[in-house]
């Protein structure tokens, strides 16, 4: 039996909704309609429990509270219950319009009745997660990841191409912080990771998926082996490369031109007598990061402290810590603005010609040493590692993350994380924080319940053209081509439905959200609206179930009203909306369609907001071409922090 339960929210809603009329209108749609005063309270929940049996399908018109579902989850299958948040989406936002609000409630409840007919039982996804974690690169970050995970009781293997000792760690990390800090930290980390397995190998192959990767290794002792692991953390290091202007400045040709790292070593060993005049040149074409700026300042300060005359020729030095800049000045470092255009090696020293175009000034310095600021770049084998693991790189060769704001340590492949400098040059604090973050993500992966329930995309092989659009669009590496067929790796899937919106044949359909169900719902919504409201224009808001939905709920809580002919239709993710649903909405007569997604960079499924914008733009182009007004469709973001958004977006035009 199809049953409808309505809640008056402790008799507060019956002033805004005409429950008796709603009941009358819906008599033909439901087998029974019951009105209760507080479904979410103990007595109400007991009432529900006594009223439903596992044969029923149930629609509940109440509030956004999740509590009401609880008693029924025992008795009813998920796919037999549909909720309509009458309070937030109707009563509270149309409080001055009893008739309109009641009409809208009828339309939405009819929609829920159809929706419940189209719901599938959720799929259970079992995650088999290997507990073993592989850490590639045992620098400071690698050690930090290992230390955190070991602390949490997780086995780790650290992979390094060659054996490392404490000095090597400090050396490799010297651009990140001063020596004392590093030495202390290394000491702590090394002792904290004593129980980790460390092997000297490089990765030669990778297969499998998150939770179950098989990694082939070639080891220093000539052996090849494989290791199984659930997650991989990449903590590869960086190296210091000569800047583009190095050749022009005689690097490699003259002993007087050296790199910043060489200066650091020299200064360290320098006796009190052998003071020198040093010019440090920053390449203006290299965009100096704050970490690199900090490193430069630390080295020149040390050099000046040892009695050397240090001149820094630069156009801009960035640093996150003003104190190091001050310390450099106080130690006597001379900063001059300008670009080093030319260097000439003479018996008196290196003659450096400095140009300051801003002040059209040319100066010459004769110095003992010309020191070049280096560029911090990923270690040489990073590109090969990325190729093997299928990760993407940015233009400087750093490994990119999938969605930097939301998941700063998640690479483009699930189950593979990046900690520290492999992503960009970082200060020691940032690097350690990112390593901690990566360790936490890995831990979450391992600890997440091994069973998830949800609606997933289903592929109909007969219909599929193997166009690979879905594979390209899936932000989670959950679709792959296996033996010429598109295969869904449900363990990777985040149930977003982005794959569905790009599929040209709709051979891939999301459970409970098939095209047929959308068509049936949209047609019925329009028809019922017309029945209740006649010619009054109406708008569909296709809202993602995350931010947009929260914003709309909040519009209700805060009473930011909007016109009654506005029907919010929930999508798991705005990226699931394809031109078909938009055009169908217009075709059934909606005056406007608003696709509401999370704010840019805030999509819970990574690319849904972007996809929604693309789809809407594309649909607008289609509309323009066929002589329709493209302004009838709009994509916009909504977030809980902006409960006004709904009001602003759906005010009727004209």
């Amino acid at each position: 039996m199809k049953k409808l339960f309505l809640c008056t929210c402790n008799k507060t809603l019956d002033k805004k909704l005409d429950f008796l009329r709603i009941e009358k209108e819906l008599k033909g749609v439901f087998d029974s309609v019951q009105i209760h005063d507080a479904l979410c309270l103990k007595e109400g929940l007991a009432f529900l429990e006594s009223e439903v049996s596992n044969e029923d399908s149930v629609v509940i018109g109440a509030c956004t509270s999740q509590i009401i579902g609880m008693p029924m989850s025992e008795k009813l299958k998920t796919e037999s219950v549909s909720f309509v948040p009458l309070r937030e989406h109707v009563a509270w936002v149309h409080s001055n319009d009893l008739k309109g609000a009641s009409n809208k409630a009828v339309v939405l409840l009819c929609d829920a009745a159809i929706r419940v007919d189209h719901m599938d039982s959720p799929t259970v996804v079992e995650n088999h997660m290997e507990k073993e974690v592989l850490i590639v690169g045992g620098g400071m970050c690698g050690l930090k990841v290992a230390a955190d995970l070991l602390h949490l009781g997780i086995d780790v293997t650290i992979l390094e191409p060659c054996p490392w000792d404490d000095t090597a760690y400090v050396e490799a990390g010297q651009f990140m912080a001063d020596k004392n800090t590093l030495t202390k930290m290394v000491k702590e980390l090394v002792s904290a990771t004593a129980s980790a397995t460390t092997i000297c190998c490089t990765i030669t192959g990778l297969e499998g998926r998150a939770g179950k990767y098989g990694v082939s290794l070639a080891c220093l002792d000539g052996k090849v082996s494989t290791i199984d692991c659930g997650s991989i953390v990449i903590a590869t290091n960086v190296e210091q490369k000569p800047p583009p202007m190095a050749k022009k400045l005689l690097y490699g040709k003259s002993d007087r031109t050296i790199l910043l790292g060489n200066l650091a070593t020299l200064v360290e060993k320098q006796g009190p007598k052998d003071v020198r005049t040093v010019l440090v040149a920053v390449d203006p074409t290299h965009h100096l990061s704050a970490v690199e700026g900090g490193y430069l300042l630390r080295v020149v300060t040390e050099a000046a402290k040892k009695g050397n005359t240090v001149i820094v020729a630069h156009s801009n030095i960035r640093t996150d810590d003003e104190n190091i800049y001050r310390a450099a000045r106080e130690s006597g470092v001379i900063f001059v603005r300008g670009t080093l255009e030319k260097a000439k090696d003479t018996k008196d020293g290196m003659v450096c010609r400095l140009e300051n175009t801003l002040e059209s000034q040319i100066r010459e310095f004769v110095v003992d040493l010309l020191v070049l600021q280096t560029m911090t770049r990923p270690r040489g084998d990073t590109a090969e590692l990325a190729r093997i693991a299928g990760l993407s790189l940015d233009e400087d060769g750093f490994i990119t993350t999938r969605y930097s704001k939301n998941k700063p340590v998640q690479t483009s492949k699930r189950g593979i994380y990046i900690a520290g400098n492999g992503k960009m040059p970082m200060s020691i604090d940032d690097a350690i924080a990112s390593a901690g973050n990566a360790a936490l993500e890995v831990f979450k992966d391992i600890r997440t319940t091994t069973r998830r329930k949800g609606w997933i995309p289903i592929i109909d092989e007969e219909q599929c053209d193997v166009c690979e659009a879905c594979i390209e669009a899936c932000p989670n590496d959950a679709l792959r081509l296996v033996d010429g067929k598109v295969t869904h790796i449900s363990q990777h899937c985040e149930f977003c439905g982005i794959c569905v919106s790009v599929c040209p044949t709709r051979a891939i359909e999301f459970q409970s959200h098939s095209k047929e169900s959308w068509f049936a719902r949209l047609e019925a919504l329009a028809e019922n609206h017309k029945k209740m409201e006649g010619e009054k224009p109406f708008t569909f808001v296709y809202a993602c179930s995350e931010c947009a939905n929260a914003s709309i709920d909040l519009a209700g809580f805060t009473g930011k009203g909007y016109p009654t002919g506005t029907y919010v239709i929930q999508f798991p993710c705005a990226g699931m909306v394809s031109p078909i649903e938009i055009l169908k909405g217009l075709a059934v007569g909606a005056e406007r369609i608003v696709v509401a997604h999370c704010p840019p960079g805030g999509c819970h499924h990574q690319t849904g907001d972007h996809m929604a914008e693309l789809v809407v733009k594309f649909t607008q182009d289609m509309l323009r071409s066929i002589g329709q007004d493209p302004e009838r469709v709009k994509a916009t973001y909504m977030i809980a922090a902006l409960p006004n958004k709904m009001q602003e977006e759906v005010a009727h035009r004209g």
Binding site: D465, C467, P504, T505, F519, L583, K584, A587, F618, S625
Partner: protein, 304 residues
């Protein structure tokens, strides 16, 4: 350069006028045709592109909306019900005005149009077999204007009074060659303008041979073989060499007509016993060429 490129290059070389019409491809002629594409069902899956060996197909990042709007949905619908919905919706929402193709935004997979290059296609049907969505069909027309492009008329030539046509005659080494021999034995007179080339079967004459002859300034090309249904290599089979060649020659006659070289090829047959007929064929064709005058290509050749 592959063979097709060479042939097209030769056609461009011998063209003396800009072709204006597509040429109909006779039934038996294979290897020439037009791929017609309907975007409305295309899933941009690229299967056709992968199947096409001469790389005649490419993906164009546009959505060909005019195709969607003029499409008619067949009785049993499209294979892709999704495209069917899209077509129905777009047609339903259409308002007045001119529909244009739109570009597909970067990063949105699943849409695109196939671009077909007439001069690369060898009408092999492979793309059609590969396409699951029935977007492609082979039309028996040859898009000559597209392939040849614009042609500058060659410098005109002055016909000297003692000009005699120069004709190349391909004779099959079965009947026709015997007929030519017989004509000789019978001391029949036929014009001295022809040079015969013996080939195994008429079917062995390739367009490349004909075009090379014309390209080098030959005024006419004659092909003679066995009587129809008496081909030594196919008898009365519809695939017999001579039988096939009739359709090909018909095709090339039309092509040559379009590019200003009409009337300069002829196909005929004479059995071993037909010495007289052979002599007549030669006489008639020579007269025809005589009336047409020297090949206009000569103008081009002289310049070169």
């Amino acid at each position: 350069m592959d063979k097709r490129d060479q042939l097209i290059q030769k056609l461009r070389n011998i063209a003396v006028k800009t072709p204006e019409n597509d040429v109909e491809v006779p039934e038996k002629v294979e290897g020439f045709g037009t791929i017609e594409y309907g975007a409305q069902t295309c899933s941009a899956c690229k299967k056709c592109i992968l199947a096409c060996e001469p790389a005649a197909l490419d993906m164009d990042p546009t959505m060909n909306l005019p195709d969607y709007l003029k499409a008619t949905i067949p009785h049993d619908g499209f294979r892709s019900k999704n495209r069917e919905s899209l077509v129905t919706l777009l047609q339903g929402l259409r308002e007045e005005g001119n529909v244009v193709a739109i570009s597909v935004p970067d990063g949105l997979p699943g849409y695109g149009s196939i671009a077909w290059a007439a001069d690369r296609c060898i009408a092999c049907d492979k793309c059609i077999e590969a396409c699951l969505e029935d977007c492609l069909t082979l039309e028996k027309t040859y898009k000559l204007p597209e392939i040849i492009g614009e042609v500058k008329p060659p410098p005109s030539i002055t016909v000297s009074k003692d000009w005699e046509p120069f004709i190349l005659c391909f004779v099959c080494w079965e009947c026709s060659h015997a007929a030519a021999d017989l004509a000789g034995l019978m001391h029949l007179h036929y014009p001295t303008n022809i040079r015969t080339i013996r080939i195994p079967c008429l079917g062995a004459v390739e367009p490349m041979h004909i075009m090379t002859a014309l390209e080098n300034g030959v005024d006419g090309v004659l092909l003679t073989g066995c009587l129809l249904s008496e081909c030594h290599y196919g008898g009365d089979s519809p695939k017999a060499g001579n039988f096939m060649q009739y359709d090909f020659v018909k095709f090339w006659m039309d092509v040559l007509e379009e590019i200003g070289m009409g009337g300069r090829i002829h196909i005929d047959s004479a059995s071993a016993a037909m010495g007289i007929k052979f002599a007549d064929i030669v006489k008639e064709f020579t007269e025809k060429i005589q009336n047409l005058g020297p090949s206009p290509i000569r103008g081009k050749l002289e310049v070169r």
